[in-house]
């Protein structure tokens, strides 16, 4: 059976609403601020062959990488109704705080698909509260590693015994499990209504449709060996710059990104598995597509990613990876946009290019926040200010929530006036957020664009550099520290690059 124009739209809505419901169940019933307030989580539905049917649009870096999680679980002889958990970056995960729950959906006694929910848990144990330690040299320091296993009560107990905030984790896992179950129920209801074969065929047709549309768009793009190199500002152990090199070829409607020339895996934790690199490439391709193409496995079919074994973006165990997911993924996006811009393809100027990861924690509590900045300007539009760019789209933690739940005070939260790059269309402005510690606590900051500013495009100026300031002293891009009550941490996030030459007499 092949879907006609109508069935395509009808079934697209039906699958999408299942994924939406999964996301709502998680956000509305989780307890940690990182999931419920910041929505650092994603939900998706996969078919039995491991291709993504539909997603709830949340966090780009999660969504492109979930297919690897499903692939890892499919290798474990899943039985209908089985529930799996994983966070191992080297078998289906991204970085350790991202815990993925996968349900093998029982459709008429066979596995008819997978309900997948990934959430960033702001504590998975490891050397430092918050589990995002700058300076980790091996993955073992970053937290407890959970390879793909069935989530039994005993596995959960083992996991909870390795974290600092077990009650919070248990409650968040319960919400995540409920979200997985909601997805399974949704797909079962759909299959009961339309029949198993028709539901399956509809999912395939939707992916074929997305692939066809994606390839049509890509066929209109001329990219033959476009290259670019951008830089990571140290790995938390060494401060030296690390190259992210990419070559883009678009041929026959397939977007191929190759990372030959990228630095080898680093000693610190800016490494990432290839899944994360694939996510970043997929994100860039998705920005080239019109809104009405559904984001599903069909888009991924038009994307190829290659990287030398053991390089920074195709790391091998036991390389540490906490920052790779959040920072290296951003730099991959920047390098890709740079390459495309070099080929005359009208992509936006570089955005802040970092997530400004701040992790704070003490006895019985952890807090993780990423801070927005300037978006790069586009041809025809200024860059939005104070938003997450690229691979993140989390919300902030409201000041009132933060102060009610953590021994912290927010002394100021504002846009960085004038921080956007100049241009015919100026870049977006970054953000300042200033915290005061009210108790002793551990701090970890993972950030970028502290010395290489986000570049403008087509003659536009660069965005302002970011800064991390502790009690008036500027810190390195990636740093850990112990804070005492009264210490003041100030983050100034980068601006976005401008687009086009500034006009005469332009303000910025």
């Amino acid at each position: 059976m092949s879907l006609d124009a109508v069935g395509l739209e009808v079934m697209g809505h039906a699958f999408a609403s299942i994924a939406e419901e999964m996301g709502l169940v998680l956000i509305h019933s989780a307890v940690s601020p990182n999931i419920r307030e910041r929505r650092d989580c994603s939900a998706a539905l996969f078919d039995a062959e491991g291709e993504m049917i539909a997603q709830a649009a949340h966090i780009p870096v999660h969504l492109g990488a979930l297919a690897e999680s499903v692939a890892a679980v499919r290798g474990l002889d899943p039985r209908p109704g089985d529930l799996f958990i994983l966070n191992d970056p080297y078998t289906g995960g991204s970085h350790l705080p991202d815990i993925t729950l996968l349900g093998a959906i029982d459709l008429d006694g066979a596995v008819g698909g997978y309900s997948v929910v990934r959430a960033h848990h702001s504590d998975v144990g490891g050397a430092q509260a918050g589990s995002m330690p700058a300076g980790a040299r091996e993955i073992f320091a970053e937290g407890v590693i959970v390879p793909p296993v069935r989530l039994t009560g005993e596995v959960e107990r083992l996991f909870l015994a390795n974290v600092r905030t077990p009650d919070t984790r248990a409650a968040d896992l319960a919400a995540q499990r409920a979200a997985v179950e909601r997805g399974a129920e949704g797909l079962r209801a759909l299959a009961a209504r339309y029949g198993l074969a028709a539901t399956r065929a509809a999912a395939r047709d939707l992916m074929d449709y997305a692939e066809r549309r994606t390839r049509e768009v890509l066929r209109r793009i001329r990219a033959d060996g476009l290259t670019a190199t951008d830089w990571l500002e140290g790995d938390g152990v060494d401060d030296a710059d690390l190259a992210i090199a990419v070559r883009v070829d678009v041929a026959d409607g397939v977007f191929h990104a190759d990372f030959t020339g990228t630095a080898p895996a680093a000693r610190g934790n800016v490494n990432c598995p290839l899944a994360v690199a694939r996510s970043a490439v997929l994100f860039v391709v998705r920005t080239l597509l019109p809104d009405d193409i559904p984001t599903n496995g069909g888009v991924q079919r038009a994307v190829r990613v290659s990287a030398p074994e053991g390089c920074l973006v195709n790391a091998r165990r036991p390389s540490a990876v906490a920052a790779g997911n959040v920072e290296t993924s951003q730099r991959i996006v920047d390098a890709l946009f740079l390459a495309l811009a070099g080929g005359g393809i009208p992509v936006p100027a570089q955005g802040q290019g970092t997530m400004n990861n701040v992790t704070l924690g003490g006895v019985g509590w952890t807090y993780y926040e990423t801070i927005g900045g300037g978006q790069g300007a586009s041809r025809g539009a200024p860059g939005p200010s104070g938003v997450h760019v690229g691979m993140s789209n989390t919300r902030n933690t409201p000041v009132e929530v933060l102060e009610l739940e953590c021994p912290l005070r927010v002394r100021g939260y504002a846009l960085r006036r004038g921080g956007g790059g100049s241009g015919q269309w100026p870049g977006g402005e970054g953000v300042t957020r200033e915290f005061e510690a009210l108790a002793p606590m551990e701090l970890s900051v993972l950030a970028e664009r502290r010395r290489h500013a986000p570049r403008g495009a087509a003659g536009g100026g660069p965005g302002a550099l970011g800064r991390t300031i502790l009690n008036g002293a500027t810190l390195a891009p990636k740093v850990t520290a112990l804070l005492e009550p009264g210490d003041v941490l100030r983050l100034e996030t980068p601006g976005g690059g401008g687009w086009g030459e500034p006009e005469q007499g332009a303000k910025r």
Partner: protein, 677 residues
């Protein structure tokens, strides 16, 4: 679902003499009027809206119907889009925002998520305040109270700074004012004394709940709307009284009605005044036919609004945004999708058929209106399928042209398939899918199973889609209300007087005694009694597991914390599929709704209908192929008549379609109860 026996007794209205209740719903295209008279008769009128001054159309409708001053009107209840349109068109007051120093950019920072995940050029709509119109105040409250005192000199300085900006309205929002309002109170009092005539909205009065961005945004909306709403309502009240109407009331987003002075002081609570009337009307029809679990769908010209009634009451929603501006006030749950009669169908680049969001609006309107529209709309598709009758004009004045509809629909043809009928069938299928998704968002996504509910479709085109939507959601029962095209106005005419009050009360349920709960509700109950004397008062608590960020609102029928916990656990399990064993539960807010019911409409006039047989037969195209449908006059059906699908029920203000396999029974109220055969 067991529908009430059609012969069951209808509740009689309690008219206090020769009085009339009139509901007027001013929509984007039409102004609808419903008058409830002594003896329960219902008079209905539809006139064209006058956007420049909605009052003109409103009085026009009164004049056409020959009401006031000739007939004494007891109360005129108004559903207005003045607040909605002021937000959509950005035509509110110039507002100065007074806020905590260091946090002046809150409205621009929003929650830092971007407007579109993959469209990097798209930005959020700008705030309602200019950045130059923000006045920072040196003060700070924290979770436990004062961190930085508010000095007298600082109050004077801030007032002078506000005065220098010459605002039309002022919003005051300080951090933690939801819990510690002293600083906000001082500044608001000083501003009110210094700037008489300039409305001042303070966040602890407008929305005393945590999350500073949403509270500040909502407070700003209140200030932005208040002058315009107050001016409109003051003038309207004067004119209404001049015509001998005894009282004017205004529908709020939460489905209650307020006197004009109170409504003007809660302008932001009018943002969904229009759609709320429809949900109230749907509830009344549910009462009349004895159904308390309803999924409602109001299909208008440019959009469709899904909502629900459960336990006989509309469901509230505390979140959301209007016109891209976050507005977190209590409102009837409304999920709006762009699938109205005027929504335009097109093929995208990949050959998929899309409906909306673009709409043909009132001008030029669907192609079949013959007013110059060329592009196919949902209404055109319905006409091509034979669901609408070209011989019956809409709203007495619009004649439908089948030829124009067919040409427009056929223009999509070559890519989508064969003939016009097939394309039209595709258009209605896609529109139905879009509406089904909205219906699922208000039901399934909230843990409510639509299969155990009754669908109530209304608006001009809603009843055409009833069977199809019920099918898509696995529902087995549908109620087609009497006068489906003007149900919103009917809801207005019969709406209760209602006020919603909220207080922040952040306490662990386990540590509360019954007297604590009674004591905390006491001030809210006193205020409710003074604002709506003689009202019935309902108490609710927003509860959550300690640490969660979203609450579940549960009714509080006794002061017993254990009972509140049990109610919460059941509600949480129903909505989220789990309820943590032994996890501590906390109350976050207390809510009180005070309502005084108006007289219920009897709908008895509708039972005087005499039509017991179809008036005609017509060829229609349905999902299963071509069929011959019997055509019945919707407004004149005799009680007790049964109608088997396929059938068209054509009324003056709406048309209904019964698909094969469905059987309708005419209830004495004039509603048609439709069930699977």
């Amino acid at each position: 679902v067991c529908l009430a026996n059609p012969q069951s007794e209808i509740r009689n209205p309690k008219w206090g003499g020769a009085v009339l209740r009139v509901g007027v719903d001013v929509g984007g295209t039409f102004t609808d009027l419903v008058a409830l008279g002594e003896g329960g008769d219902i008079r209905v009128r539809k006139v064209v809206t006058t956007p420049a001054d909605p009052a003109v159309g409103l009085f026009g409708a009164l004049d056409v119907e020959g009401l006031a001053p000739s007939d004494p009107v007891d109360v005129l209840i108004h559903g207005t889009t003045i607040a909605t349109n002021a937000l959509l068109e950005r035509r509110g007051a110039r507002v100065v925002l007074v806020t905590t120093r260091g946090f002046e950019d809150l409205l621009w920072l929003r929650r830092q998520d971007r407007a579109a995940l993959y469209d990097l050029a798209r930005d959020h709509p700008p705030p309602l305040v200019s950045r130059g119109d923000v006045v920072a105040v040196a003060e700070r409250m924290g979770p436990a109270g004062v961190l930085e005192p508010l000095a007298d000199g600082e109050v004077a300085r801030a007032v002078a700074a506000v005065r220098a900006l010459a605002p039309e309205a002022v919003a005051v929002s300080f951090l933690f004012a939801f819990r510690h309002a002293a600083h906000e109170r001082s500044i608001a009092a000083a501003l009110r004394a210094a700037l008489p005539g300039v409305p001042v909205a303070a966040s602890h009065e407008v929305l005393p709940v945590f999350r500073e961005f949403e509270r500040t945004s909502t407070t700003t909306v209140e200030a932005y709307l208040r002058p315009k709403v107050a001016t409109y309502l003051t003038r309207l009240e004067r004119d209404v009284r001049g015509r001998g109407v005894a009282a004017l009331r205004v529908m709020t987003s939460s489905g209650g009605t307020l006197p004009p002075a109170a409504a003007a002081a809660r302008a932001a609570s009018l943002a969904l005044s229009g759609p709320a009337g429809g949900v109230v009307g749907a509830r009344l029809v549910g009462v009349a036919v004895g159904v308390s679990e309803l999924l409602t769908l109001d299909m208008g010209g440019t959009s469709a609004d899904a909502s629900l009634v459960t336990g006989g009451a509309p469901v509230g929603d505390g979140g959301g945004a209007v016109a891209g501006i976050p507005l977190a006030l209590p409102a009837v749950l409304i999920e709006t999708v762009s699938a109205g009669g005027g929504s335009i169908a097109r093929l995208d680049e990949g050959g998929a058929l899309k409906v909306g969001p673009e709409s043909a609006g009132a001008v030029p309107g669907p192609a079949c209106y013959g007013r110059g529209g060329q592009r196919p709309t949902v209404t055109d598709a319905c006409l091509v399928l034979g669901w609408l009758d070209a011989a019956s004009p809409l709203a007495d004045e619009v004649r439908l042209e089948p030829g124009a509809a067919e040409r427009a629909v056929r223009s999509l043809g070559p890519a989508a398939g064969a003939d016009a009928t097939r394309v039209a069938a595709g258009i209605v299928a896609v529109a139905a899918a879009v509406m089904a998704r909205a219906l699922k968002r208000v039901s399934v996504a909230r843990g409510l199973d639509p299969r155990r509910m009754t669908l109530l479709p209304f608006g001009g085109a809603g009843p055409l889609f009833g069977c199809r939507l019920a099918d898509a959601l696995g529902m087995r029962a549908i109620v087609i209300p009497p006068h489906p095209g003007v149900l919103s106005a009917l809801g207005l005419a019969a709406a209760a007087e209602r006020i919603d009050l909220l207080a922040s009360f952040h306490r662990s349920l386990e540590q509360l005694q019954p007297r604590d709960i009674a004591g905390a509700f006491a001030p809210l109950l006193a205020e409710a009694a003074s604002q709506v004397p003689g009202s019935t008062v309902l108490r609710y608590a927003d509860c959550r597991f300690a640490g969660q960020g979203y609450e579940v609102t549960v009714p509080v029928t006794a002061d017993d914390p254990r009972q509140i916990r049990a109610t919460f656990l059941a509600a949480h399990r129903a909505r989220h599929g789990h309820a943590g064993d032994g996890q501590p539960v906390e109350i976050v807010n207390l809510r009180v709704a005070a309502l005084r019911e108006g007289a219920l409409p009897s709908f008895r006039a509708a039972t005087r209908g005499a039509a017991r047989a179809p008036r005609a037969q017509r060829a229609v195209a349905l999902a299963g192929g071509r069929a011959t449908a019997s055509v019945w006059p919707l407004d004149e059906l005799a009680a007790g008549v049964t109608i088997d699908g396929p059938a068209i029920l054509a009324g003056r203000d709406a048309t209904a379609l019964l698909e094969p396999g469905w059987r309708g029974t005419v209830h004495p109220s004039g509603a048609v109860l439709v069930e699977r055969r």
